[in-house]
């Protein structure tokens, strides 16, 4: 079994367990918010998704930097998977955020909040990652340019938040300050469990996809060795490295 497959089952089970616990806490333990009522509980999904997505983008940048340093293809595949997983989690963030916004503020989207704007800008940027990859045919160049993009875009994430935050007043609920948060104890516990659950979900999915891709790569290499080059059809032009 490849290194990604090892421990995957354990990780997956832990993820399922944590998320189940988180759900239980959300529905039965965490108190009902005085202002927003039940809808507020979306926060326990929305914020962990957001944090995981942003960390995923930065993680993708770090992996891209490793590719540039070593030239080993596996780093590029890792970076690709990290970024496109983070994009999916990001879309989840935007959807859950819109639901929450509509329910508590009456609008699907507002411009006056820096957090929303920053997040949208980051998503717009990373949405170009796959079109960029798809439009470069040479596989090695594709990996290299994608890694450069990942590094620059990953560095952009914190910069962007600083700049936009400086520009705007706060409307978005500020529950997580650097000081550690002004959540009451029960909410904090629920939030932490949710956060861990979603982070584990990201890791599991990342590992799973890496396992699938690396297996596919090895099968192709084996076929090539055993049956000769012609037995393996060349990969069609694609955005994915494999």
């Amino acid at each position: 079994m490849s290194i990604y497959g090892r421990g995957l089952r354990g990780l997956a089970l832990t993820t399922v367990a944590t998320i189940t616990v988180a759900f239980t806490l959300v529905f039965f333990y965490a108190p009902l918010d005085a202002d927003q009522g039940f809808v507020q509980k979306i926060f326990y999904v929305h914020v962990p998704l957001a944090i995981t997505a942003l960390c995923g983008f930065v993680f993708g940048g770090v992996l891209g930097a490793m590719y540039l340093r070593t030239g080993e293809r596996k780093w590029d595949i890792r970076s690709y998977v990290a970024i496109h997983m983070a994009l999916i989690f990001g879309v989840g963030t935007l959807i859950t955020g819109a639901i929450w916004a509509k329910a508590s503020w009456g609008h699907w989207w507002i411009w006056s909040d820096p957090t929303l704007t920053s997040f949208l800008i980051v998503m717009l940027l990373f949405a170009t990652y796959q079109p960029l990859r798809f439009s470069i045919e040479d596989p090695e160049r594709q990996a290299r340019y994608a890694s450069v993009f990942a590094v620059v875009a990953g560095a952009f994430v914190p910069l962007n938040f600083i700049a936009v935050r400086a520009a705007q007043a706060y409307v978005h609920p500020r529950v997580l300050t650097l000081a550690g948060g002004n959540l009451p104890g029960s909410m904090r516990l629920t939030f932490l469990v949710s956060l861990i659950g979603i982070a584990l979900l990201y890791s599991t999915l990342w590992k799973y996809e890496m396992a699938a891709k690396s297996t596919r790569m090895r099968v192709r290499a084996l076929r090539r060795t055993l049956l000769g080059d012609d037995a393996v059809a060349p990969l069609k032009r694609s955005a994915a490295p494999l």
Partner: protein, 228 residues
């Protein structure tokens, strides 16, 4: 001390994605000799030349050019290599003189050398016209000047005589021909012409070495198979 060979390749491999473009190419070319590279389109000739020019990195194997290992020492040896490929590498909106001056500056060569070369290829009077107005033969002459501007010790020539009439061919011969005395790698669509100039012949077939030998040993059938 023994001079290192002009070119030394050992198990050179270059890929394009999963496809292998050059596979296990090995040869040794003494300084001052000419290597002719024969093969069909797509056999890997241009890729080989670009690797020797330090424009592409080898993916496996060893490459030594003028004694320096690539890609590690690419920057050290770049200034001693001249490449003449399909593209003249000249900006069409600039004049011949301006183009050559640009290249001269990039190589740290003085402008007297530009004038010297323009004179040698008889382009002095048309050197101030934009390149896009010149005939292909004239552009090729300018391209030759560009390739030898910095007095390279290794010349990489991909169809160097394309578009040149016999008179022009005679003009550029002292610069890029056998009489220049430089180590040369030559590809040509005309195998016989290439063989006539070569000290060593490399036949490439689908990226693999079909043969590496003296020109005398290359039979007509071998060439036929290569281009079949």
């Amino acid at each position: 001390m023994d001079q290192p060979p002009g070119i030394e390749l050992s198990g050179l491999v270059r890929r394009f994605g999963e496809r292998i473009v050059l596979r296990d190419v090995s040869l040794r070319l003494p300084v001052g000799s000419t290597l002719a590279v024969l093969g069909r389109n797509g056999a890997g000739k241009s890729t080989l030349l670009r690797i020797l020019a330090t424009l592409l990195r080898p993916h496996a194997g060893e490459v030594r050019v003028l004694g320096e290992a690539l890609p590690r020492r690419g920057f050290a040896v770049r200034g001693r290599i001249g490449l003449l490929g399909h593209d003249p590498l000249l900006y069409r909106d600039l004049s011949g003189r301006e183009n050559l001056t640009y290249h001269a500056r990039l190589h740290g060569v003085g402008t007297e050398r530009v004038e010297e070369l323009l004179d040698l290829v008889r382009m002095t009077d048309r050197a101030d016209e934009p390149v896009r107005l010149l005939s292909r033969g004239m552009v090729q002459r300018l391209a030759v000047c560009r390739a030898v501007l910095h007095r390279p010790r290794l010349l990489l020539l991909d169809e160097p005589l394309a578009n040149l009439d016999p008179a022009a061919t005679g003009l550029v011969a002292p610069l890029i021909g056998r009489e220049s005395g430089t180590t040369r790698v030559l590809t040509s669509h005309d195998p016989r012409a290439a063989l006539a100039e070569a000290d060593l012949v490399l036949g490439l077939e689908d990226g693999r070495v079909a043969f590496v030998t003296d020109p005398g040993n290359v039979g007509a059938t071998a060439i036929e198979r290569l281009y079949a």
